[in-house]
């Protein structure tokens, strides 16, 4: 079955069995391995990608279900060589240890900031509640998202003053 989608802004297509999961299509057919698999019950969120801007668990969708959609994976987050604010936040706040949950967590964080520019602790915890991190205990992930929110706000602000205050960056 033919399937095509825009992944991180580039047109991608494949000829696959209808039963192929989106995560397998991304990892195997497209060779983009930043999207991970941590369970088989839709419980962990390691496989999170954005489809038309919404976070989804790519282990729970068939690739053919997103035919014609816009997909964003971790590989599409950085702006060229420069890290995106969410990536800077995770680095500066030690929001990752083994890094296995991190792509999913960062996609959720970025999407959250796009809706809620200054999310509270509780809003962040709720947003990532479908994603498991076995290493960090979540506190630093919350801080990482808040750090990214500040950077994002500063980048949008007219003066460059706040960006310098928020720290980090390339």
């Amino acid at each position: 079955m033919k399937v095509s989608m825009r992944v991180n802004g580039a047109e991608k297509s494949g000829d696959i069995e209808p039963r192929v999961l989106l995560v397998d299509f991304i990892r195997t057919n497209l060779g983009m391995t930043g999207t991970h698999v941590g369970c088989d019950t839709s419980s962990c969120g390691a496989c999170t990608v954005l489809v038309n801007g919404d976070p989804v668990k790519s282990c729970t969708l068939l690739a053919v279900q997103v035919d014609g959609s816009e997909v964003k994976t971790i590989e599409g987050i950085a702006q060229g060589a420069a890290l995106a604010p969410i990536q800077v936040g995770f680095h500066e706040e030690h929001g990752l240890q083994c890094g296995f949950c991190t792509p999913g967590m960062m996609l959720i964080g970025e999407e959250l900031i796009s809706r809620i520019p200054n999310p509270t602790d509780e809003q962040i915890r709720w947003a990532i509640s479908g994603n498991i991190c076995r290493c960090t205990g979540y506190m630093n992930i919350v801080k990482a998202v808040q750090h990214a929110a500040k950077l994002t706000a500063a980048a949008k602000a007219p003066a460059g003053k706040e960006a310098a205050m928020a720290g980090g960056g390339e």
Binding site: G38, T41, A78, H91, E92, Q97, G130, R134, N140
Partner: protein, 784 residues
């Protein structure tokens, strides 16, 4: 990219992690990310029964499926003498079952196919005819006379008993108990749980048909030890085996053992001449790989009339599953459990342990724990709190009264441990202050009067980590040293190669910092390499909080060796006598003339360009470190909970964790480890459970049944510290990765029991779920 890039990165600096760069971009190299040319995929058929005789296996339909390359059964493995393998505890374990299956999820056959989907399709077509046998799911059942014999494959094995083990002084303990004013008993079960790292286990075996060299990519915390085990199991010469541990998505002990899947994939690659990938799914991970705990414990604590501890007596029954595969030092059958006297000056103790086979998965790995220290710490800390309750003493006071005092170190415990250093009253003090203990107690009293259910729990743990001194610690005879090889290039940049293997602990940063401190090369200029047995020195691996105590020490020692050579080079360059030079991080200068100096980089350049007469060129070295003792991190954790009488729900209001792990190399990373450990400890205390029904079906076989803490239930932690250096570690550091998982479960449970104590409730076994709390309250007639 990092805000700390400009820093030197010596000891004590919270520089940002070097390894983050690739993970932030989704460019980590985890096992399942590797694709080799002509790679085939393997799926394993597992037993649906806990105990059954295999009557026949029909693979015809599976073999006929499109894409199938081979179907492997135990019979085929037996032809190559690979149907069984040794375990890390010197027992044997079936690779693919030939005679019986002994636990649900045991490996029975494997399909190798062109794609993963094809391999799984064909696997489901294999037909196995089983004769179901009685399933044994507990030590009590295993002991019963006339119960089924699980290990009928072992010559001379007449029952399901594996070992009896003792430590301490039986007669002395008996005598002390005879004189006791009060004896407090706790019967408790530390249930089976599972490390469940987010990435499951797997391997890609690639045996070169021409050279015979086996390259095995593997999610292994201990690649060197695994290579040796493979050489012994498969009879492949050791230089022909290369284990590569790529980036690992969490381990927590789960990735220490050798699993049957690794052996089958390697055999298949050898027979087929193609690389074979096997990656388990989450269910396979939870039902077949290294579980933890499953200890049934009884502790008796003898006290005098003032609440001074006189003696401790403990018996435990260990449920080891179908094969005794505990990953632990050979000498200690119950791991390091005999550290059970904990932080207390208990004059005499006696510990007995019996291990049993059951029809459950084998493994006995230490889930973020140093070989059964967690069970020991849990038992003593629960017992001490219960003792306080029974004699009406404050739970902080009974601890302080019985602590080993700072001036008693080095302290020899009743079971023979030599504690290196500690200041337990200080950690307690810091924790209680942070908590506001005295006010909090009043608050609890007041709220209880209003009918609320609330409580405070304390645990003051002592751990024993950093295995270990070669004379006492070995795994299958391999002494538990570790190693570091350091090479400084002419331009002063360095590569450090280690025998350990990070699974998220941040070794690429921490170990570079040790070199930065000891040799003066900035951390950014030190590349850390691990996890490739062809290219790193031999070491026993990363588990049991041993990387910093052992490999960290090796790194300091090799750095110092190189510094001494650099001193000679600097003396040569400065035309000064060696003894006239002084070292300041990064440079040697002439005593009294600080303007006359040579940097470490200049000395390194000279090692390749301008040597003193007769000196061997180059600036590199290796150090194998056999630790003189274990390290003993400790701390006090305090928890406040509210319990909902109506639902039994427990809410952790506060969690204060004061840790002392000696000198902290990167405080940010250390705190990250503690926060992660406190979360896993929370999971163990309240959520995580692998259990079995009467037929031996595993309950807890997926992440909908095996509950891992998420962001909503995980408490917010208040972290504190004290610093008591280890006197024998070259940097004064102790291990820390596991302290929080070891120390916190008792603190959480003590808080719940304290809350329930006004109703006469003295114990609830973990996980302390709402239904258990609800039932306990109802059993005492408490309703809303």
């Amino acid at each position: 990219m990092s805000s700390t890039l400009h820093m030197h990165g010596g000891i004590g600096e919270s520089i940002k992690r070097k390894e983050d760069a690739r993970f932030l971009r989704g460019q980590g190299h985890f096992l399942d990310d590797f694709v080799l040319p002509r790679m085939a995929h393997m799926a394993i058929l597992r037993s649906p029964h806990a105990h059954a005789r295999i009557k026949s296996i029909d693979t015809a339909a599976a073999s006929a499926k499109p894409g199938v390359i081979a179907v492997v059964t135990g019979e085929l493995m037996a032809q190559h003498k690979l149907a069984w393998m040794p375990t890390l505890s010197g027992d044997t374990q079936a690779v693919l079952a030939t005679d019986k299956v002994r636990f649900q999820g045991q490996e029975v056959a494997a399909v190798i196919a062109e794609t993963k989907y094809q391999a799984e399709d064909a696997r489901d077509l294999i037909e196995v005819d089983y004769e179901i046998l009685q399933a044994i799911t507990s030590p009590d059942q295993a002991k019963e006379s006339g119960s089924a014999l699980i290990r009928d494959d072992k010559e001379g094995q007449k029952d399901n008993h594996i070992y009896h083990w003792e430590s301490g002084d039986k007669a002395g303990t008996q005598a002390a108990f005879a004189k006791a004013h009060k004896v407090v008993r706790l019967n408790t079960f530390y249930p089976r749980c599972h490390p469940a790292p987010l990435e499951t286990c797997g391997c890609i075996a690639d045996v070169d048909g021409v050279t015979g060299k086996a390259t095995i990519y593997m999610t292994s915390q201990a690649p060197h030890a695994i290579r040796t085990v493979f050489a012994l199991v498969a009879g492949i010469p050791e230089h022909q085996i290369r284990i590569i541990s790529p980036d690992i998505g969490g381990g927590f002990g789960n990735k220490v053992p050798v699993y049957p899947g690794y052996v089958v994939a390697t055999a298949a690659s050898l027979l087929l001449g193609r690389p074979v990938k096997w990656v388990e799914d989450r269910t396979e991970n939870l039902i077949s790989t290294g579980f933890a705990r499953d200890y049934h414990m009884t502790g008796d604590l003898a006290l005098d009339k003032d609440g001074k501890m006189l003696a401790l007596r403990v018996h435990l029954d260990s449920d080891n599953g179908a094969f005794f595969a505990d990953a632990q030092p050979s000498k200690f059958k119950a791991g390091l459990f005999h550290i059970v006297t904990g932080s207390y000056d208990i004059p005499t103790a006696h510990v007995t342990a019996d291990g049993y086979y059951t029809n459950k998965a084998p493994g006995g790995v230490a889930y973020r724990c140093s070989f059964r220290v967690t069970e020991a710490s849990y038992l003593i800390e629960r017992l001490v709190s219960n003792a306080a309750m029974e004699i009406g003493m404050d739970q902080a006071e009974i601890r302080t009264k019985n602590f080993i005092q700072p001036e008693q170190f080095p302290y020899t415990s009743a079971t023979g441990w030599i504690y290196d250093s500690g200041d337990y009253p200080k950690a307690m003090d810091v924790a209680l202050k942070q908590l506001g203990y005295e006010d909090l107690k009043k608050d609890v009293e007041a709220r209880r009067k209003k009918g609320e259910v609330t409580g405070i729990g304390i645990a003051s743990f002592t751990e024993v980590v950093g295995a270990g001194p070669g004379a006492d610690y070995d795994i299958l005879g391999l002494r538990m040293f570790d190693s570091a090889e350091l090479r400084v290039h002419p331009t002063g940049k360095a590569i450090l190669k280690l025998g350990v293997k990070s699974q998220g602990q941040g070794h690429e940063t921490t170990f570079a910092q040790i070199v930065a401190e000891e040799l003066g090369i900035p951390a950014q200029d030190v590349l850390v390499m691990e996890g490739d047995t062809d290219n790193t020195p031999y070491g026993l691996g990363t588990y049991a909080s041993r990387s910093t105590p052992v490999a960290g020490a090796a790194t300091a020692m090799v750095s110092r060796k190189l510094r001494e050579k650099a001193r000679k080079l600097a003396a040569h360059l400065l035309e000064a006598a060696e003894e006239d030079l002084e070292w300041e991080r990064g440079k040697f200068f002439v005593k009294g003339s600080p303007e006359k100096f040579k940097t470490i980089q200049e000395a390194a350049f000279a090692a390749y360009t301008n040597l003193p007469e007769g000196m061997e060129p180059g600036l590199e070295g290796v150090h194998y470190y056999d630790p003189p003792n274990m390290t003993y991190p400790f701390g006090t954790y305090a928890v406040v909970v509210d319990v909902d009488k109506g639902t039994g729900q427990v809410k952790v209001k506060r969690m204060v964790a004061v840790d002392d792990c000696g000198v902290r190399i990167n405080p940010m990373i250390v705190e990250g480890q503690i926060q992660g450990g406190l979360t896993e400890g929370y999971g163990i205390a309240f959520m995580e459970l692998i259990t079995f029904d009467a037929e031996g079906n595993c309950i807890g076989s997926n992440l909908m049944d095996y509950l891992i803490p998420g962001s909503m239930e995980t408490p917010k932690f208040e972290i504190g510290q004290t610093v008591t250096p280890s006197p024998h570690h070259p940097l004064g550091a102790k291990g820390v990765g596991e302290s929080a998982t070891v120390g916190s479960p008792a603190a959480y449970v003590n808080a719940v029991i304290d809350a329930l104590s006004p109703y006469g409730i003295t114990n609830i076994d973990m996980p302390v779920t709402s239904d258990k709390v609800w039932a306990a309250l109802r059993s005492k007639g408490v309703t809303e």
